[in-house]
Symmetry: C2
C-alpha cells in the first residue's frame, strides 16, 4: 500500500490521480465556457429548457398533503410510470418492487456496482468508456477490467475479447448502448453473441455475471432506428436509465434501475433488499419528491430529436467537407472525431484559442481523438464550422 | 470471509443483516402509519409544509438561463449563503472553496466518511447513535468503534472512554450534538475536554483524528439555549449540516459540509479535491439546482421552534404525570423514554395495537427504550397521552 497523502483515503487519492486529465480539463472549463463562441464539451444544455419541464415541476412543488416533502424511497407513482414505460416501449413486464428510483443514471450505476461487487471482484468495461466507470468500479472495491472496442469492427462489442477477460472473479460487465462516446448502438446479433458468451461463462465460473445496461441514451436515437436493448439478449441484465438526457436537464436528476423478470425471483428478492440498504447507506440516494411525483409526466417529454439529428447531420457533413475523419453516431449526443494532429491536445488547445471548445479523447481513453456534443446550438455550429475548417489547414504543432 | 449470498456483495449483505431490526420495523411502518392515531416514529412532517418553502422552490424552478438545469457542483450562490450563515450564527469564517453542497446531511456524512476513511481504519461513534453511522462507516471500508454514553453522566461524551478507544488506526470520531436520540447538547466544558483528548491522541498516533460534527439539529434548540458547536473546541473538525430539519422537508434534500479555517490549508486543499472526486463517484452527490439556488432564501426559514418546544413540554409533562421515566431534550425532535416493561418490544407492540406508533430503541442500540418524535401534531399528542397513561398501568407482558 502506498503512503497516505495527508488526511485522504488512499483509494480516493489514487482515483483522483487517475482522473487528473479530466479534472485539469474541467478546472479550466468554466472560465473558457463563459467566453466560448461554441461549446461542444459536455452533454449540457446550450439552449433554454424544453417547454413543460419547469411547469411540471412547479405543479408538483405545490404540496398535496403533509407527506409531500416527507422521507421518500421509490414512490409508487414513479414506479408505476416506469413500469408502464418499459411495458410500452420495450415490452418488458417489470414488477413494481424491481424498480428503484435514483438521482439519475449516475446514482443508478454507483448503487448497482456497490450492491453487486466488492473487494476481490472484477467488473469489465468496454473502452472507450464513459469517464467514471473505472472510478466507480474502484469505489465498489472491485478491479476494473478494460476491454478495448475496435473501430475496424464498427465499434461493436468484441465478444471474444470479453470472453477472454472473464475470470472466476468477474461479477459484472457494463454495456452502454448507444455508447458515449462512439455513438454506436450495438446490433442485436452482436448482443446475442455477448449473451451467449455471458451465459456460458456464468456456468463456467459458477455464478451469474450481471450485464449492467447503461441505457442513458436509449431515447436519443437517430434515423428512426428502433432501440435494441442488451436486456433482450441476456437474462441477468439490469436496466439503468436517466431522464436527464431525454429532458436535457442534468441538474435535476431522476432515473432508475429496473430488474427485468428474466432474473430469477430469488435473486431479484435478494437484490431488492440490497438496493434499499445501499441507497440508504450511500446517502439516501433517491430522487427528491418533486421529481418522483413528476416522472409520469416527464416520461412523455423530450428534447426535439429531429432537430438534434439535423445538428448531427450538419456537424458530420461540415467536418467531413473540411477533411476530418469521424464516425456517424447511431444515437447519443456525440460525434467522435480523429485529431488531425498527432498531438491531439495541442489541436484541442488550438481550437480553444479560437474559442471553440471540444472534449479531449484523453478523458475517455482515446488520446488521439476528440468528442463533440451536438447539444451545441445551431448558432454555435455556424460559428464553429469555419474554425474547424481553418484549423485542419494549419500545420500540425506539438 | 463468509459464503456469498447469491448476487449480493458480502459487505452489503452483512450490513443488511445488521439492520434487520430497523428494516423489519419500517417494513410494517407504512401500513400502520396510514391508520395510526398518533405517529411518533420518525422526524417526519405530520403537518403541512411551512409557508414559503414551496413558493421559494417555485420561484427558482423558473429557468433564468440555458444553464439553469445544467450540471452543477456546489454553486457560488449556495456557497455564499452558507458562508454568510456560518459567519453570522457562529462567527466561523469559512472559505467558499471549503463549502461542499450535498443532498442533506446523509450525503454529507457518507461522502466525508469515504473521503477520510478506508479499509483498515477505525471510526469512533457514540452510542446510542443515529441509525446509520455504523453502516456508513462500514461502507467506507473502516471498522466502527462503539463508545457508549452514560445516562448517569447526563448523556455527555465519556471523554476517557473515547481516549481509551483511540488506536493508531483511528481516523475520525462522529459527534452529533444535539444528539439524536438523547436530545443532549454537549456542553462546552465536555467538548473542550474531548478536544484536548483528540489533540493529544492525534500527536500520539501521528496523524490528525478528524471530528465529524453532525449538526443536523443545531437549529432545533429549546429554552433559548445558544448552540455550542464541537467545532469551536477542536481544530480538525468538519461541519455537517442539513436544511432538512429546520425546514422539516426530508424529501427535498439540501445540506453541506464545511471545513473550518482551523484545519490547516494544506489539508483543506487535499480535502477539496477528495470531496469533489468522492461526490462525483458516489453518484453526483450534489443537491439539485433548484434547491441550490433556493438556499439563500431557505436559510432564513424554519419550522416554529416555540411551538415545537410547547409540544416537547406537553409530552414530557404528560408522560411524567403518567409515570414514565424519560429525559428532557436540549434540542432535536426527540424524547427518549424508558420502557416500563422489561420487554420493550412487547410494550411498543402494545402501543401499536392502540394505533400509537413509537420507535423501538433496538434500532439505536438501546433495547430498553423507545423514542418519540415531537414532529407529531398537537392532535396526535392529545390522542396519544391517554393511551400512554393506560398502557403503563397494564401488567407487563412478554
Amino acid at each position: 500500500m502506498t503512503e497516505r497523502n495527508g488526511p485522504i483515503s488512499r483509494l480516493i487519492d489514487e482515483i483522483t490521480r487517475e482522473h487528473a486529465t479530466f479534472l485539469n480539463f474541467f478546472g479550466k472549463y468554466d472560465e473558457r465556457g463563459a467566453t466560448a463562441i461554441a461549446d461542444f464539451v459536455a452533454g449540457n444544455p446550450q439552449e433554454m429548457p424544453i417547454p413543460g419541464f419547469a411547469e411540471t415541476l412547479i405543479k408538483w412543488t405545490k404540496p398535496t398533503s403533509k407527506d409531500h416533502f416527507a422521507y421518500k424511497q421509490s414512490i409508487p407513482e414513479a414506479r408505476r410510470a416506469v413500469q408502464a414505460s418499459l411495458a410500452k416501449l420495450r415490452g418488458l413486464k417489470v414488477d413494481l418492487d424491481d424498480i428503484f428510483m435514483t438521482g439519475g443514471a449516475f446514482q443508478a450505476l454507483s448503487v448497482t456496482l456497490r450492491a453487486l461487487a466488492e473487494t476481490g471482484d472484477e467488473v469489465i468495461y468496454l473502452s472507450p468508456p464513459w469517464f467514471f466507470y473505472r472510478g466507480m468500479i474502484r469505489m465498489s472495491g472491485a478491479t476494473p477490467v478494460r476491454v478495448p472496442v475496435d473501430a475496424a469492427q464498427g465499434w461493436d462489442i468484441p465478444v471474444d475479447k470479453v470472453d477472454a477477460a472473464i475470470t472466476a472473479r468477474t461479477r459484472a460487465i457494463i454495456v452502454n448502448s448507444p455508447c458515449n462516446p462512439t455513438g454506436r448502438m450495438y446490433p442485436r446479433e452482436n448482443l446475442d453473441r455477448l449473451g451467449d458468451v455471458l451465459r456460458k461463462a456464468s456456468k463456467r465460473v459458477g455464478h451469474p455475471i450481471f450485464l449492467i445496461s447503461d441505457e442513458a441514451y436509449s431515447r436519443i436515437m437517430f434515423d428512426g432506428v428502433h432501440y435494441e436493448s442488451p436486456v433482450d439478449s441476456y437474462a441477468y441484465s439490469i436496466v439503468v436509465y436517466t431522464y436527464g438526457k431525454q429532458l436535457l436537464t442534468p441538474g435535476e436528476r431522476v432515473g432508475y434501475v429496473a430488474l427485468p423478470p428474466s432474473i430469477p425471483i430469488a435473486e431479484r428478492e435478494a437484490l431488492r433488499n440490497a438496493y434499499a440498504m445501499t441507497q440508504v447507506l450511500m446517502g439516501w440516494l433517491w430522487p427528491n419528491t418533486i421529481l418522483q411525483y413528476a416522472v409520469a409526466e416527464l416520461e412523455g417529454m423530450s428534447i426535439d430529436i429531429a432537430h438534434l439529428q439535423q445538428k448531427r447531420d450538419r456537424v458530420v457533413k461540415g467536418m467531413r467537407d473540411a477533411g476530418y475523419r469521424l464516425n456517424v453516431p447511431d444515437g447519443t449526443f456525440y460525434v467522435l472525431v480523429d485529431s488531425p494532429w498527432a498531438d491531439a491536445d495541442a489541436f484541442i488547445e488550438h481550437l480553444a484559442s479560437q474559442r471553440v471548445l471540444v472534449l479531449p479523447g484523453a478523458t475517455f481513453e482515446m488520446p488521439k481523438h476528440f468528442r463533440l456534443s451536438i447539444t451545441a446550438s445551431d448558432a454555435m455550429i455556424d460559428a464553429a464550422l469555419p474554425v474547424f475548417a481553418a484549423a485542419i489547414k494549419e500545420p500540425a504543432r506539438v
